[in-house]
């Protein structure tokens, strides 16, 4: 059924009898044209666009737990297209445009909220680097504003302007950036894909690949073998583990990234703010929780938890930047697994195994990429050619020397 305000009212008055399952719980078929491994935002968006735009509907999404249980449900919900390099920026701008129409596309309120992002800078050198980035955003049509200290103080007067170790000298703002409700994105794509005939199969863990003569035949799962014309792997922090089934090593390390939310508060933070002199960024959810995070813990991990030093580091930054949050309380801390790649940028590409495709290496930033990663991965799966905006996200860029290194730190994943 179609969701609408009218429908909500009608159902409220008739005891919700019309609300049915948001998606089915299908039994796996013996084979599919395309099997997507990973029922996160990316995998579900891929399935949705395969069905919607490329008319491929004999598609299954296999999820080892419940959909959205990985990074899709553990991130800090920021969306933005404020990148510098030509390999990245058009892709993220495509994503932003898809975000802007997401609710109408999926008929599900994912609460895309363009309240803006401000990246603060604290030195002339940082300002120059942000000017370079801001101009790249302007040139690509994403839009940007360079804010001086005066303007900033008016917009976010609660920051520490007067007593800081690293004074705030200004900020780069993207007004179109903001947040979206992460679970809502997962559910919106899942419901949309299900309606178009995609089988979403939960509690179905992929345990191996069946590959013969360099060709992918299907996947072994906890619910039996499932044949597949093509297999698209989209498993975020588990990329290394899943691709190991095909004996492939990746330019990726798995790391733990923590995130935090405070108790609910009346609105204080308008959009997203990132600190330029420490590891701290923050926004506020519609429910009122301050949602914030910082750096990865910095060592290989599959444990989905972090340590106390990073919690302290994040809050040192938080208190240095906005000392008015001192009397709010941390409600919950959690960890996700992120694919940290050798240049800090993602991979959407075919592999050398016929029929095996890979989408991963999203570093900290997979959530904002969800719509475009879904669309471009679907494009690749359907057409065997990379989407125009994702031509740089190839495996071979590393060996050939075309890395997309926004931070300029080279092949050390924990510095990206």
């Amino acid at each position: 059924m179609t969701f609408s305000g009218f429908k909500v009212v009608k159902e409220a008055l008739t005891g919700y009898r019309g609300w049915g399952p948001l998606w089915r719980n299908p039994t796996p078929k013996p084979a599919y044209d395309v099997v997507i491994v990973g029922g996160g935002g990316h995998g579900l968006a891929t399935a949705y666009y395969l069905a919607k735009r490329y008319n491929l509907r004999n598609v299954a999404v296999l999820e080892k737990g419940w959909i959205g249980s990985g990074n899709a449900g553990r991130n800090t919900t920021i969306i933005r297209s404020n990148y510098l390099l030509p390999g990245n920026q058009p892709f993220y701008e495509l994503s932003m445009q898809l975000w802007e129409n997401l609710e109408q596309e999926t008929n599900f309120n994912s609460m895309v909220s363009q309240r803006g992002i401000i990246n603060l800078f604290h030195s002339d050198g940082q300002r120059d680097a942000y000017r370079r980035r801001g101009n790249a955003m302007m040139i690509s049509g994403a839009g940007a504003r360079l804010l001086g200290p005066g303007e900033l103080r008016e917009m976010v007067p609660f920051l520490n302007f007067d007593n800081a170790r690293f004074p705030i000298k200004g900020g780069l703002m993207q007004e179109r950036a903001g947040t979206a409700r992460h679970d809502g994105v997962v559910w919106g794509y899942a419901r949309g894909a299900d309606k178009l005939g995609v089988d979403i199969i939960q509690n179905c863990e992929v345990t191996g690949f069946r590959i013969e003569d360099g060709k992918m035949l299907g996947v072994e799962t906890s619910r039996g073998y499932i044949g597949a014309g093509k297999v698209g792997v989209s498993v975020a922090g588990s990329s290394g583990r899943v691709m190991a089934y095909a004996n492939r090593r990746l330019p990726i390390e798995s790391h733990a990234l923590q995130a935090f939310v405070s108790e609910g508060l009346k609105p204080v933070v308008p959009g997203v703010i990132t600190f330029g002199a420490g590891h701290f960024y923050i926004s506020q959810s519609d429910k009122g929780g301050l949602v914030f995070g910082g750096d990865i813990d910095g060592y290989n991990s599959y444990a989905q938890r972090g340590g106390l030093p990073v919690i302290e580091d994040v809050l040192e930054g938080g208190m240095a930047l906005m000392p008015m949050i001192g009397r709010a309380r941390l409600l919950r801390a959690w960890g996700g697994l992120v694919d940290m790649s050798m240049d800090g940028s993602p991979i959407i590409d075919r592999t050398d195994i016929d029929g095996l495709y890979f989408n991963g290496a999203w570093n900290y930033g997979g959530f904002k990429a969800t719509p475009a990663a879904g669309l471009t991965f679907a494009h690749l799966l359907a057409t065997d050619t990379p989407h125009d905006t994702a031509t740089a996200f190839r495996f071979d860029r590393f060996n050939r020397g075309y890395v997309i290194d926004e931070k300029g730190v080279g092949a050390q994943p924990n510095l990206h």
Partner: protein, 981 residues
């Protein structure tokens, strides 16, 4: 007043406080909640969504309802649980989340509209028209959402952090914890005993049970006294262990001054990092309720809490003294409450027990096989509906205690991968396998509730921990407790059509769970996210298990099949201020000061943050009103005379050993092996991936002794990399490294008169161009015997030197040079002038060496030696790097007075400006007083063949666009004659 007799409050110490502006009186030992209840105040807040009236549910840190804003002004502290706010004289608190007065909240309208606000409703609407979400719907939702308010003022209090190491950390000072601490304490182990309450005793303080025939508080006091007398035991009350991290590291917060009006000279709170070899988790248990229709009114609370208020705080949550009280239970524990209340003189309506054939523990009425099926009372409970054997009756009561069973506080045990296990006999989850190593659950937290069981289990846990640590545990004589385990039946909620709350704060009802089931939001995490159940400030402590039971009933699965309850840190909410540990404001990061900092300060220098360092930015002189005036003067003074600049911050690494030469030759991309003793060479390091990494100089002081300099920014990283090469790649080389950045003060002496000035301070040292040419270096003495090192290197393009002396002489050297050079017009200069000088000379710095560039782009491609291996050499030859045609160029604004801003992008004149036509970017720019024009450095496609071309420097971000001529990056003295003279 609803004060009873007895209790653990000190009636000789009255405390005055206000709630919503009204004055009240309590006593020392009260919490805000107990004091309000004693004053007949039951309405303390409003729920999140429906703005339903809310009073206390619990008597401890799990409280989801009675959240208040404590204190005023910058110390205002939203969402404080009244149940754990220790009363102090002068306390002021306000209720939250209402419009208009608390008892007449205008947003209570939401309650009438609640059918429209069912689980997940917002995902289904607010989508049309598109623009309305940000403009209308969301702002309205945001305004209505949230609980308390921040003051928006900087937190005025101080915080601290501390570190503790111990053999055994005991978490919780109740029956099990006290016995565990005493056992370990007597064994001589280093023990830390932490309890969140301000008084040790845990649940023992809330019960009427006797220990060895005396009030339990007597035994608690005797144990406390003994523990306090042991030097190996540290008792930490008001301390919550909020998380367990890897390898036995526990995070704890001690509320040092939250029970005082203001902290005074104390910190407000301290963050403790406790490293414990073993820990006993004796955190007790949390009672759960039984959802029934309209079960959320003030006056309806957990039966154990009702008992606690009566026993410990001598009060009842009724509107006025004499109002009747009732208990609704599914087991024996509700009857204990009834017994205690009777003993306290409360008027008891009776116990409504869901079990058929339930019996009374005393002289009170039992409604057996009965349920509470409704309630009345707009702002507080006045009546309950009891259904017994199909018979429905209404009864006047002022309070209802609900006893649904107890959930072990296993939170910390599930902070790692430990999954709780369902105990069918206890009807609760207990800590399962795979919890944090070294953490031993005990007492009620392990499912061993009841005083007698908990005491014994505390001893067992401590003995187990001590055995693992090879310490001998003494047998402790446990006090005699007479309680028996309490039986109960699996009765999870009262069926019905009306709303029955499961999560009180977030207004999640049984109906919402049913709807989630109907919509296939069945996995427990989907249920939670769809309905917001368990996402309130208690994180599901009072709701999760009941919700699982309801979902299990709907799916027909068992509770453990339906899901478990995994908890994440923190155990209870922790202030953000204390997690920052007090390192805020100017103390956020250390300041590193150069040896001449004090001197520069005395000269009136302006300073700038350069990484961790503070460096002199420029030295304003009398009459200069703009920084540019100072910088222009300094630049011209260097080019015409002599200037001084503290360059100590550049990284310095001393490299010694028989293989030092070979080692450095492998580190630098350019040939370093041919460097002769007494000479310096510019050196470029690459990353192993072939990109340019860092540059600096390499000076050979002796056959086996080099001094390497790095950029300021990369000083630590380059040193780390050098150690990596030494230890991990080539440990066979005989080479030793030490960072000497802090050991030597280094001052640049630059300008045509630099030789003359230096000649006045060196001891018998020939500075002539022949004896000490460009790129020479030497150890020497100056000023009559001071050890020094002299390098003839130039960042400015002028005749220049850098002179190093032991750091403690840096200040004196600067003063001496200033004095000796007074007649030469010697001029101190700062980082701004340093920047202008290097841009004029075309030297790369951080903006050019930004990690994205290559030696070729820098114009140094030919430096990468093909004759030898070095870090990065192989990969620098890859296709993508070799094909990169961008080169470092100079740009001169066609309109000299307009600045080509760094960060502008370059385009061919007349071309469309897109990412595809982008030709490069401006890296650095400045006003050149020498050329009387703005100049810039930039990377430009095919830059080395485009000199003379006019390009567009586009800065759409600031609405600017300039034409600039491509020139050599070496604006000043491109032949380099000056530095060689």
């Amino acid at each position: 007043m609803t004060r009873l007799t007895g209790g653990l409050i000190d009636r000789t110490r009255p405390l005055h406080f206000t709630f919503n502006g009204t004055g009240y009186k309590g006593f020392e030992g009260d919490t805000l909640a107990s004091a309000l209840l004693a004053n007949g105040v039951r309405l303390m807040g409003r729920s999140f969504k429906y703005h339903r009236p809310r009073g206390v549910l619990a008597a401890g840190s799990e409280e989801p309802n009675a959240l208040v804003s404590l204190r005023d002004g910058a110390r205002a502290e939203p969402n404080t649980r009244a149940t754990v706010a220790e009363l102090y004289d002068g306390l002021s608190a306000r209720s939250q989340n209402h419009v208009g007065p608390l008892h007449r909240d205008l947003l209570a309208l939401n309650d009438l509209l609640s059918p429209f606000f069912a689980a997940g409703f917002y995902y289904k609407t607010f989508m049309w028209p598109k623009a309305f979400w940000e403009k209308l719907y969301e702002p309205a939702i945001r305004k209505a959402a949230g609980l308390g308010e921040l003051s928006m003022l900087p937190d005025p209090d101080a915080y601290d952090r501390g570190f503790l190491q111990c053999d055994l950390l005991v978490i919780g000072g109740g029956a099990a914890g006290l016995v565990a601490a005493l056992t370990a304490g007597r064994a001589g182990a280093q023990v830390v005993l932490a309890d969140e309450d301000f008084r040790l005793g845990g649940r023992l303080l809330m019960e009427s049970d006797l220990l060895d025939g005396a009030p339990a508080s007597d035994w608690v006091e005797s144990v406390r006294a003994e523990l306090a007398s042991l030097s190996n035991v540290r008792i930490m009350t008001r301390t919550t262990v909020f998380g367990v991290f890897d390898h036995g590291i526990y995070g704890a917060v001690e509320r040092v001054a939250d029970h005082l009006p203001v902290p005074g000279d104390k910190v407000r709170q301290t963050l403790w990092r406790i490293t414990a070899k073993r820990a006993v988790l004796a955190a007790g248990a949390t009672e759960r309720h039984i959802p029934f229709a309209d079960n959320d009114r003030p006056g309806i609370l957990l039966a154990g809490a009702l008992r606690a208020y009566a026993n410990r705080w001598a009060t009842l949550p009724v509107a006025k003294a004499g109002d009747a009280v009732a208990i609704f239970t599914n087991g024996d524990d509700g009857h204990r409450t009834a017994r205690d209340l009777l003993a306290k003189g409360a008027k008891l309506l009776g116990v409504i027990d869901s079990r058929a054939g339930a019996r009374a523990l005393g002289d009170y009425r039992v409604f057996s096989g009965a349920q509470v099926t409704g309630s009345k009372g707009r702002l507080g409970l006045t009546q309950i509906e009891i259904t017994e054997g199909g018979k429905v009756s209404w009864h006047e009561v002022g309070a209802l205690g609900v006893a649904g069973g107890w959930n072990p506080n296993l939170h910390l045990a599930s902070h790692h991968r430990g999954r709780p296990e369902w105990d069918a006999s206890l009807l609760a989850f207990v800590p399962g396998q795979g919890g944090p190593q070294g953490l031993i659950p005990a007492g009620a937290a392990a499912g061993k509730g009841g005083t007698a069981q908990a005491l014994a289990d505390g001893a067992r846990a401590a003995q187990a921990a001590l055995a693992e640590l090879a310490l001998t545990a003494p047998q402790i004589a446990l006090p005699e407790a007479l309680d028996a385990p309490a039986a109960q039946e699996a009765f999870w909620h009262v069926p019905g059509k009306k709303r029955a709350w499961v999560d009180f704060q977030n207004d999640v009802t049984v109906k919402d769970i049913k709807l989630a089931h109907q919509e296939n939001m069945r996995p427990v995490e989907h249920l939670k996210r769809w309905t917001t159940l368990g996402m309130a400030t208690d994180q599901g402590k009072t709701s999760n298990v009941s919700a699982l039971a309801v979902m299990a009933e709907l799916t027909g699965n068992s509770i453990p099949e339906t899901g478990t309850t995994i908890f994440r840190p923190p155990y209870t909410p922790v202030s953000l201020g204390v997690l920052g540990g007090g390192d805020s404001g100017p103390h956020f990061r250390p300041h590193r000061l150069t040896p001449t900092h004090g001197w520069a300060e005395a000269q009136g220098a302006e300073f700038v943050e350069v990484g961790p360092w503070m460096r002199a930015q420029y030295f304003p002189q009398k009459g200069e009103t703009h920084w540019r005036q100072s910088v222009d003067r300094e630049v011209l003074a260097v080019r015409a005379g002599v200037g001084l600049c503290d360059v100590t911050t550049l990284g310095k690494v001393d490299v010694q050993g028989a293989d030092a030469r070979e080692f450095l030759n492998r580190l630098y991309a350019n040939m370093m092996g041919t460097l002769k003793v007494g000479m310096v060479r510019y050196g470029l390091m690459l990353r192993e991936d072939g990109h340019a990494y860092d540059d600096g100089t390499c000076a050979r002081l002796a056959e086996d002794h080099y001094v390497v300099t790095t950029t300021t920014a990369n000083a630590g990283l380059v040193f780390q990399r050098m150690e990596f090469a030494r230890q991990c790649l080539w440990p066979e080389l005989d080479v030793q490294l030490i960072s000497t950045t802090d050991a030597w003060a280094q001052i640049a002496v630059a300008g045509p008169k630099s030789r003359e000035l230096l000649g006045r301070i060196v001891d018998d040292f020939d500075l002539s161009n022949e004896a000490f040419p460009f790129m020479a270096c030497a150890p020497l003495t100056i000023c009559g015997g001071l050890r020094a090192r002299l390098f003839r290197i130039s960042f400015s393009g002028e005749l220049a030197y850098e002179i190093a002396v032991p750091a403690r002489y840096g200040h004196a050297l600067m003063e001496r040079l200033m004095k000796q050079g007074a007649d030469l017009g010697v001029t101190p200069y700062g980082t701004e002038t340093l920047g202008v000088l290097r841009i004029e000379k075309g030297h790369a710095a951080g903006a050019e060496l930004n990690g994205q560039t290559t030696a070729q782009m820098l114009g140094l491609g030919r430096m990468v030696s093909a004759k030898k291996d070095s870090i990065g050499a192989v990969m620098s030859r890859r296709e993508g790097l070799a094909a990169d045609r961008r080169r470092l160029v100079g740009l001169k604004s066609v309109t000299p007075q307009e600045q080509v801003a760094a960060g502008s992008h370059l385009f061919t004149e007349g071309a469309a400006q897109t990412m595809q036509t982008d030709q490069g970017w401006v890296t650095s720019s400045c006003w050149s007083p020498h050329l009387k024009s703005y100049i810039a450095l930039a990377y430009l496609e095919d830059g080395d063949s485009r000199q003379g071309e006019i390009v567009i420097a586009a800065n759409p971000l600031e609405g600017r666009e300039l034409r600039a001529e491509v020139v050599s990056a070496h604006f000043v003295d491109p032949e380099g004659g000056r530095l060689r003279d």
